[in-house]
């Protein structure tokens, strides 16, 4: 499987996915008008990765902003991670939020209550 490296733009996040280390990173802003188009390669990659995942998959989500259109796609990404966990692989989602950003913390907690993958909420302190 290939390594994925999507460079961020003002409306879309930087995404890196490494099949060997099992580290996935989504970082920046996710506010595109058409988020399905943006997330399709990410979801497809995870779909393929789930058939032969690394022993441990660590997903770092560090978003400054995301729109509601992205929120559905992010859920799709997390649902793929749930599948990976089902094949007895270790999966953890690190959800980063900036100090005092209660909206972003709450958004992480919403996902945590829906998705059966362990979440770690990490506050970024300046």
């Amino acid at each position: 499987m290939e390594l994925i490296n999507i460079e961020g733009t003002p409306k879309t996040p930087t995404v890196t996915m490494n099949p060997t280390t099992g580290v996935v990173e989504i970082k920046g802003r996710s506010i595109p008008e058409n988020s399905i188009e943006f997330y399709k390669p990410v979801v497809d990659w995870l779909d393929e990765y789930s058939s032969n995942p690394a022993p441990k998959t660590v997903v770092n989500v560090q978003l400054e902003y995301f729109n509601t259109s992205s929120s559905k796609c992010i859920l799709d990404v997390f649902k793929k991670l749930e599948q990976i966990k089902l094949v007895n692989a270790d999966v953890v989602i690190n959800w980063y939020y900036e100090e005092d950003d209660e909206d972003m913390l709450e958004a992480g907690e919403d996902y945590e209550s829906i998705i059966k993958v362990p979440f770690k909420m990490i506050e970024i302190v300046d």
């Binding site: 003002p10 409306k11 506010i31 008008e33 058409n34 988020s35 399905i36 400054e64 902003y65 729109n67 509601t68 259109s69 929120s71 559905k72 859920l75 900036e98 005092d100 950003d101 209660e102 909206d103 972003m104 709450e106 919403d110 209550s113 829906i114």
Partner: protein, 182 residues
């Protein structure tokens, strides 16, 4: 036509205006507007959580104008895509986001029902409703997820104030105002 719009625009125009826009709405215009507002907010809103909340609600409001708009055929506009009105202003200790767009009258009752439902829910109920729609509803053909208004209500903690102005037997002008408390 323009007299009608000017009247709606005047109704929406309250407080100390930061940015006002009336015209075509497309992805580039949304990007430019967000960039402009962001640089203004960096200077004028030192409180980061409030600035982020405001920015988030702006994104949803502008993208609502992108995803859910109808254009009356007799509207005198050169827009290839959507037509909308957007005003960000400061009213007392709040920021006020007013948006306006035309909508087919046939769709108005569903929108009204949705907003009334959102306005009737408590903070906890809104959270549950958001999670339910997130987890159960598929995207509309235009790419909207049906979450925008719920998210706006949740983030602002305020009711969604709205008016439908009669335009023609088939179309209305829908105006929505939300407040973000500073």
């Amino acid at each position: 036509m323009s007299l009608f719009l000017n009247e709606c625009y005047t109704q929406m125009n309250q407080g100390e205006v930061i940015v006002a826009y009336k015209g075509c709405i497309n992805a580039d215009i949304i990007s430019n507007t967000l960039n402009l507002i962001e640089s203004k907010l960096d200077e004028s809103v030192p409180n980061t959580p409030i600035r982020k909340k405001l920015y988030n609600v702006l994104v949803e409001s502008l993208q609502n104008l992108f995803h859910h708009v109808d254009i009356p055929p007799d509207l005198d506009t050169e827009c290839e895509s959507n037509f909308g009105v957007f005003i960000l202003s400061k009213v007392d200790n709040s920021f006020r986001i007013a948006t306006g767009n035309f909508i087919k009258n046939s769709k108005a009752p569903i929108l009204k029902e949705k907003i009334d439902k959102i306005n009737s829910l408590s903070k906890e109920e809104l959270k549950d409703f958001y999670k339910f729609v997130l987890n159960n509803q598929t995207f509309s053909e235009k790419g909207g997820g049906g979450l925008g208004l719920i998210d706006i209500a949740r983030k602002t903690g305020n009711k969604l104030d709205y008016t439908f102005y009669d335009y023609s037997p088939e179309y209305s002008f829908f105006n929505m105002n939300v407040l973000i408390n500073e």
